[in-house]
Symmetry: C2
Subunit: 125 residues, 2 copies
């Protein structure tokens, strides 16, 4: 998240797959720990940093900041600073990010179904 080594096998593999495959590119943008939570909490409108943090719960300032910064960079959220004191910063989803909504819905449905099917399967009696 912070410093990636451009020439590591790891990174080269990642980039190769991303460049070949839009699904992989998409997964890369949305697939880390707190991003889904950000989408989920911002889907109904903008929210300021602390509120978002408290709603998510269990995120540290640092982690949330890191993820928000990446999402901003990636065109998924917009950051608006209001020149007040104490500082007020609001985050909102971009249009493009909103268009992920159908994906989340499908994933949610699939997840529920799959979890039900898996219940009791993994731990044999």
């Amino acid at each position: 998240m912070a410093s990636i080594k451009k020439n590591s096998t790891n990174n080269i593999n990642r980039e190769t797959i991303k460049s070949r495959c839009p699904e992989a590119y998409a997964m890369d943008l949305i697939g880390t720990r707190w991003k889904l939570s950000v989408f989920y909490n911002l889907k109904n409108g903008p929210m300021r940093f602390t509120v978002l943090r408290d709603r998510i719960g269990n995120v540290t300032d640092r982690m949330l900041t890191l993820h928000l910064r990446e999402m901003e960079q990636d065109g998924l959220v917009i950051r608006t600073v209001y020149p007040e004191v104490p500082a007020r910063v609001e985050y909102q989803l971009t249009e493009s990010a909103m268009e992920l909504q159908p994906v989340w819905e499908l994933l949610r449905a699939w997840g529920s179904r799959h979890r039900n099917r898996q219940e009791g399967v993994e731990v044999a009696p």
Copy 2:
């Protein structure tokens, strides 16, 4: 992938989110490096280990094995061993895994669109 510390903050956070949110559960099952490639290559039918490995390219035996094992455990692939020598092992997607197809299609479409929009945005002239 191998040894996770059950009581780390990291793991607790992960599990908490997963348990609350089917989307997160889903993302957790499908979101690591080589799994998308496995889905992609198996979507038209079963395939043996080496063929799969060579089609994906750049995966090591170990990595592929690790991911396939997890996917098996998670009810996403079925592993069939044919008692021949040299060994023949075939992998195929489960029905549940096939049902992810619409998700991949949406993600692919979104990924392409988003990438186009982002082009030239990140690197200012």
